[in-house]
Symmetry: C2
Subunit: 310 residues, 2 copies
């Protein structure tokens, strides 16, 4: 498998424990798991916890399915930065004879790719992508811009791994700010601090740091260095399994990238700036289970109260 990353021994052991406890269900493909009742209960309670913390802002809720028009991805530059993470939807367009041939090959687990063609859809690279064209359709922003809550939706990343915290399809709980540059930056920094407090309030040993995206290849290293130098990305990290703490939330300032791409203008006619934050929900559940134990009944009262009593 292209780019498969081995688990470290303690990542492999944690995955075994999670499966043994019925928290995760292996599918046979690394990074693709079913979730048991308890895992999902924690994830949705955490989602509600974030919604309560965000309620004061009065964000507008929009929801999008986990596929994106291919044209939008092509125009976005994502394939330049993250070709290795992209998932593309292919489909069959042939005759009945070809369908039979394809089925015969597939049934024998042979190569049936000659019968598949690239469709007009790709898998969702990040939950905020469909938000920008949706807002652009409305015309110029109202004064002060907008805050959009695209909820906890699936994103796809082609990074197969034995680490239970590195999934190919996972829930990102995002919030998106679209406005003037100052407004957007202040919002991003405010949420970085608020999110750190929220995650520490759940007993996680969380800290934040300047970060960069996993840009592809050697040219990607320069993009990462530039992103880091401009402090365009912060992450909150917490221990899950493995030698390093894992990113459980990200805070991104896109400057005018998406505003210019989709022609979003402020009330005064300038190109809008955007920022987003994303909580990695499965990672946060894994960090909570690792920190407090695999049975939430035994978690500290403050954590239980925060998630289940509210």
């Amino acid at each position: 498998m292209a780019g498969y990353r081995e688990a470290t021994p303690d990542q492999a052991q944690y995955l075994d424990e999670l499966v043994e406890a019925g928290l995760l269900i292996p599918s046979g493909v690394p990074g693709v798991y079913g979730r048991g009742t308890t895992f999902e209960d924690i994830r949705t309670r955490f989602d509600d916890h974030v919604s309560r913390a965000a309620a004061f802002e009065g964000a507008e809720s929009l929801r999008f399915p986990p596929v994106l028009p291919r044209r939008q991805l092509e125009a976005s530059g994502y394939l330049k930065s993250f070709p290795h993470l992209t998932g593309v939807v292919y489909a069959f367009e042939g005759s009945e004879i070809q369908a039979q041939e394809q089925a015969r090959l597939a049934c024998d687990h042979e190569d049936w790719s000659e019968h598949q063609h690239m469709s007009d859809l790709v898998l969702m690279p990040a939950v905020c992508y469909p938000v920008y064209p949706a807002i652009a359709r409305r015309g110029p922003l109202p004064a002060g811009g907008v805050i959009i809550d695209p909820g906890a939706s699936y994103a796809f990343r082609r990074e197969p791994s034995g680490d239970p915290a590195r999934l190919q399809m996972f829930h990102m709980r995002e919030l998106v700010r679209i406005a003037e540059p100052d407004t957007v930056q202040a919002w991003r920094d405010g949420w970085r601090d608020r999110a750190l407090e929220l995650l520490r309030g759940l007993g996680l040993d969380a800290r934040f740091d300047v970060a960069s995206d996993p840009f592809f290849g050697r040219s990607g290293r320069m993009m990462a260095a530039s992103q880091r130098e401009q402090e365009l990305k912060f992450e909150i990290l917490a221990p899950i399994a493995g030698p390093e703490p894992t990113a459980i939330a990200s805070f991104n300032y896109h400057q005018e990238h998406f505003g210019a791409l989709h022609g979003i203008t402020t009330a005064t006619g300038e190109t809008a700036h955007t920022a987003c934050l994303g909580f990695g929900q499965e990672r946060i559940v894994l960090a909570l289970l690792k920190t407090h134990g695999l049975d939430p009944a035994g978690w500290p009262a403050e954590v239980r109260d925060a998630l289940w009593r509210a």
Copy 2:
């Protein structure tokens, strides 16, 4: 676009009204829409309504991401029946030079398919597919079998259309019964009646009928006739838009297909039979909006109470 179906005039008009009201947000690809706050509120309230109706059964909740191992699809026979509906995940496996070439082609909206390879994942064909291997892993069923609630998850169907009720990615709320043949059939018939009552209780002009799946091609016509003759599939239909009522829920008896495929055995060592039901959630929301009006504030009190007061 392969197999694009035009909307009828009233389907096109209903879509325009839904977009105008902010209930649906066009993506540029037919059958792929964002959902506004009100649409999503109705959908999740309906989901809770189903959960309350199902509570007496004590189903076990499991959740799965909307991708399935390709090997499972290949073994299932899905490609023989529904090659035209299948979505396959492709990914990049090349060098930095190839990535640059791919990005350049994509940026110009040219053909970059030579750089993509079939991965080990496909899009979820129906929400119950991952349930069977998950239960098979546990060994023989307990006496009386199991009832699994995979929740309202996304399924993908490659059927681009101008009809707002025909989506490429949509939420199916499923329930799955795995047990002895008699148990499974009685469960399926019980839910058909319960679901009809539930949907009529929301003011929908719903009726049920024997149905068949949209099998591909001429050979598919025989499969459909046989399925219909054996009454393996029932549907509940309700008016949305267009000349015919639309299927808003399905009730499927798979006989031993999935039990045999995944080696699921009953407590007494027989091959388990399975049945599932699926509520098409977006279609149900569209039927409610069409029946009662685009603003739920004006819906009949009984319907509002059933969904929002419970």
